[in-house]
Amino acid sequence: MTTATLPVVDTGTGADLDGIRHGRRLGNVAAGARTRVTAWLLVHWQSIILLTVILVVCGLVHGINRDGWPGRVNDDEGTYTAQAYAMEYWGQIAHYTYWYDHPFGGWLLIAIYTTFTNAFERAPTAVTAARECMFVVHLFSCALLYLLARRLGLRRVFAGVSVLLFSLAPLAVWYQRMVFLDNIAVMWMLAALVCAASPRRSVGSAIWTGVFMAFSFWSKETILVLLPAVYLLLRQNRDPRNWRFVRRSFLGFLTGICGIYLLYAVTKNELFEGSGHVSLIGAIKWQLFDRQASGSLLQAGSSTRSMANLWLQIDPYLLGSGVVAALPALFFGRLRAVAILLLIQVGFMFRNGYMPYAYVTAMLPFAALCVAGMLDVTLPRPLVDRAHRVPIARTALRLVAVGTVATTGLLALSGDWAPKLGTALTADDSKPSRDAARWYIENIPNGHTVVTDDNIWTDLELAGKKPEPIWFYKLDLDPAVRGKMKNGWQDVDYIILGQLTPTILNDLPLVAEGLRHSVVVKSFGNGQIAIRKVIKQGCPADINATPGC
């Protein structure tokens, strides 16, 4: 495994020097730029056309009905949206006390997007606005994946295949449409990998690898488990003449920018645990040790197992073929890093730790790349050198293998994916939540305390509802919120919630108590989500007759 494992493209590094040497008059610079753009177009026109077509297809599939499907199945979406809202409108890191659950780079990006595009003011619901940002993130990820595939030496067709697999798998549509930090982290991760595989092997690209990797960390800290594979790719692509600088610059910038997170905690005096304030170390301890583990993949009945089942139920093909392709891919230098990126994540599922809902997101691009990469490896390249003629039988065998996989793949996928994508493009599963928010805004006047989930929280905020709505988790868990509710659940007037599991209700006694003392005012989507009025003590059940209640 040497530097030859990756294709070397000699982009004349002297070009920029010439620019400096021959004067810097504006006209010359413009002329130079024009020549460079023309040269670039001449070299890359095939890729540009292919990628444009693919991006249009992916954009259509991901763009149409992106608010309707999936429905509001996960409250995290609302949380990140609300935090982005807090950043844009309040200049705060979170809408409640920030407690170092995740670094805040992910929703900072969402907030930047919504600020510059006015998305919160435009979109029908706040989550829709954040999903719009995810859509853009997805398009960037697709382009980056194509670039990475090309830099790993895949032929254009297979680079395109990898992007299509990554984008059109129902699992991908499901997760990538939702507002998850993992999507943002994956985009930065792909950017880091693209830089790591840079054919120029410059110190600068190593610095960018480090910077993007750090951005990835800032979006979702768990992505750091993939660091060894990124380093491996950088190392595979190294040039001995500047490897010392490349390596150190990568690690230096990575640690430096990740270290700002520590610096942030230190400045706020929230690094170590202490009474009366949150702390970074406390949060890490909780994430690593105290949080309830989801069990290993091997344990029947564990939540990890049921999560995996859910994924396979949505789409078994991409993940399955990816893992199958990753094993042989380990033996091909240029695919090794990608295979390891996938297998590390698979490996972590066997460990008994906490399994986040969106865990699978970071596996998808690498699964797609492993499949397309193995196809690329198997399909023989046209002979250039006649002296090294390969036996015709072997070539034929490889052609047949690729042909078989391609045909079965096309048949199976069109049978399985088409109906699922059809649902994705048409089903409006978010309607109940959207309607509930609109109904509450239109029918309940200001002056009522409402406890709600995070999806709707931001909508009520944006509608200017006073007093501030309360995110139901915080009613029980945030001392600052509890302090304001002197009479406990009796200070709550309305509750907008979906179905909560008994385990969650066990942790939230005030919410549970409020729910017990409430009647449904209006219910949406067959009881998926309901607006309830809390009946305070001393009030008759027929609340409409008693004005004071």
């Binding site: 040497r21 006209g27 110190v203 500047n242 270290g259 700002i260």
Partner: protein, 645 residues
């Protein structure tokens, strides 16, 4: 038709401006100023919903930025005047305008609504704009650029300068400060009331500037390794036949090691008939020993020439100038008396000169070698305190590795970048200049403390191409200063020299804006280094004492992080350095290099502050660093040198 004509770049707008008569120029620039000012004011009030007084201040600031360059490039085109005084004039007239505006708008405090501008205010703004613009024009004409006298054909500039330097003009110029006083009082008072915010704001600005400077320094330090193809740029196998003749100037002052240096050159591989050695030794008693050494060589070798100028003041640039007249070779090089040039150097420079006929200057690498100090011996006399001071000064060697790395990165990487960017401060030796180029530039500036840097700046202005080459086999190996104190003295001189060159202002005539910015950045490096040394303590103090917002604190730390990245890069460079010279370095050396970084930065700060102090006191004489020949001991692979020494 000449094909090159079609490709010639379009002339810049400035040169196409005809010699507009002055009254017309004044009316035009004044009119533009007034118009832009009033329009900005109206737009600001209508758009931003801000109070009128604030809007006035904003409009002044934004107009100043918008019309940046109008004064220099149009109104007073091709006229030299002190920039400081024109800035003072600007501030002073603005202060008057502010007073006019405040005075005239005081009556209508009860302006109906914010965000609406009344006709009255527009008029007041117009009045103050006219006052400001035309007072400024008049003041600048009389006091800064000097009033021109009619019919003075030849020395108009000189007359204007003379007019601007009369006693009356000086007194009036001093009076310019007066109108600023009320504004100054108000500002000081406001700043005092918000002193915490002011401190935080100022340090934020400093941090951002330092972030940019540190970032640029980092990128340029990595220049040679940025792309793998850039690293090995010297081809030793490429050898052209000896064609060019060399004149090597050896300025010597109390240099007992001179003999070794001369012997080294004379036993080099370049044909002796093409090498001329010009040794400059003064004829005073201090240099008698050195002179005798030189004389013994001159007796034996016909190509060694001794120049013994008189004169009470001796300095390196004066010696170089004395020697220049005696140089006959095509290429004039400088060899310091204490340094050993490498064997293949002259043939390589000859090759470069043959291969690059357009290049005027060839700069080779100079490398400090002793990254570890010698063993310290306690001085015979003096108490424990004295011993401790002596140990700290001469016994410690934590800074030596850093000093070596500075040289390595400077000559291997930074200077190569500077050569490509066409602004290069040359090194003090191992530099070879074509004789005609040196004559074209008029030789060295004898009044300059860093004549090497100055020569480079003037060569850059003249558009002379420079080639920088660095190869471990071709570097001139030198030693670090004997002690920390000597290092500070040396640095003080360099920094004073840089500031001197900056003040001389030759760099302003560089052709490209980017070159000028680069020049300003490089020549002001002493200033940045002073701030860099103080950055860490100040940021820590502000973080914990003033409790700024988290965002600000992170901005404070950003330049420090880039400096950390610089030490990371130095680590890589240190290993390269060790490999290149086959030195054995251990993890301890690397660790020391990291730990010493902030302290070294402080030492540089001290030198920078010292340089500023000495400049203010007007002390411009040389503080020379002495040499003991330490590198001759440390250097590996020096068997061929031992024979000569």
């Amino acid at each position: 038709m000449n094909p090159n004509q079609a490709l010639a770049p379009p002339q810049p707008f400035r040169t196409r401006l005809p010699g507009t008569p002055r009254p017309l120029r004044f009316v035009a620039s004044g009119g533009i100023s007034v118009f832009v000012r009033v329009m900005t004011m109206v737009v600001l009030v209508q758009l931003l919903d801000i109070g009128n007084r604030t809007a006035y201040e904003y409009s002044v600031v934004s107009t100043t930025f918008l019309l940046w360059g109008l004064d220099r490039n149009f109104t007073w085109r091709r006229q030299d005047g002190s920039r400081v005084w024109s800035a003072v004039a600007r501030l002073s007239t603005e202060a008057v305008g502010w007073l006019v505006f405040v005075g005239l708008t005081r009556s209508d405090v009860s302006t109906p609504a914010v965000g609406r501008i009344s006709m009255h205010e527009v008029l007041v703004d117009l009045v103050s704009a006219v006052v400001v613009t035309f007072t400024h024009l008049v003041v600048c004409t009389w006091l800064v650029f000097g009033a021109a006298q009619k019919n003075s054909a030849q020395s108009r500039t000189a007359r204007r300068k003379a007019a601007a330097n009369t006693t009356l003009a000086r007194i009036l110029r001093g009076c310019l400060v007066l109108p600023m006083l009320p504004l100054l009082v108000v500002t000081t008072h406001a700043a005092y009331l918000n002193r915490d915010d002011v401190a935080l704001g100022m340090w934020t600005a400093v941090s951002l500037v330092m972030l940019v400077v540190a970032g640029l320094t980092l990128v340029r330090a990595q220049y040679s390794w940025q792309f793998p193809e850039r690293v090995d740029h010297v081809d030793l196998d490429d050898r052209a036949p000896a064609r060019h003749s060399f004149s090597l100037i050896v300025p010597a002052r109390e240099e007992p090691v001179l003999g070794r240096t001369l012997a080294q050159v004379l036993t080099g591989d370049y044909p002796q008939d093409l090498v001329q050695l010009v040794v400059v030794v003064s004829d005073d008693d201090v240099d008698r020993e050195t002179r005798e050494v030189a004389q013994s060589f001159a007796d034996r070798y016909s190509n060694v020439k001794i120049v013994t100028p008189g004169g009470a003041i001796r300095s390196k640039p004066i010696s170089l100038e004395d020697a220049r007249k005696n140089c006959d070779g095509d290429l004039i090089g400088i060899v310091d008396a204490e340094s050993l040039i490498s064997r293949g150097l002259l043939s390589h420079v000859n090759t470069l000169a043959v291969n690059h006929p357009k290049t005027g200057i060839f700069q080779g690498g100079v490398q400090l070698m002793n990254f570890r100090g010698e063993k310290w011996r306690r001085p015979a006399s003096g108490g424990p305190l004295h011993a401790l001071a002596d140990w700290f000064n001469t016994g410690t060697s934590w800074w030596r590795a850093r000093n070596c790395m500075e040289y390595y990165i400077w000559f291997m990487s930074r200077l190569r970048y500077q050569a490509v960017a066409r602004f290069i401060p040359l090194g003090g030796n191992t530099v070879f200049v074509r004789r005609e180029v040196l004559d074209q530039l008029g030789g060295w500036d004898v009044s300059c403390l860093t004549e090497d840097c100055d020569l480079g700046v003037r060569a850059s202005v003249a558009g002379i191409e420079t080639t920088v080459f660095y190869h471990p086999d071709l570097t001139t190996q030198e030693e670090t200063p004997e002690s920390l104190g000597k290092l500070v003295v040396q640095r003080t001189r360099w920094m004073m020299g840089f500031i001197q060159v900056f003040q001389k202002g030759d760099w302003r005539r560089l052709p490209g804006l980017r070159q000028r910015v680069l020049a300003a950045e490089l020549l002001l490096m002493p200033f940045f280094q002073a701030v860099a040394g103080l950055a860490l303590p100040t940021s820590v103090l502000l973080t914990f004492l003033l409790r700024g917002s988290v965002g600000l604190v992170i901005i404070f730390w950003l330049p420090l992080m880039v400096m950390v990245m610089m030490t990371v890069t130095e680590q890589a460079a240190f290993r390269e350095f060790a490999d290149a010279y086959r030195l054995k370095v251990g993890p301890l050396d690397s660790a020391r290099l990291i730990v010493s970084a902030p302290v070294y930065q402080l030492v540089l700060s001290v030198a920078a502050i010292r340089a500023a102090a000495r400049l203010l006191q007007g002390k411009l004489e040389w503080e020379k660093t002495t040499h003991a020949g330490a590198h001759h001991v440390v250097m590996l692979g020096s068997s061929e040198l031992e024979g000569v020494s």
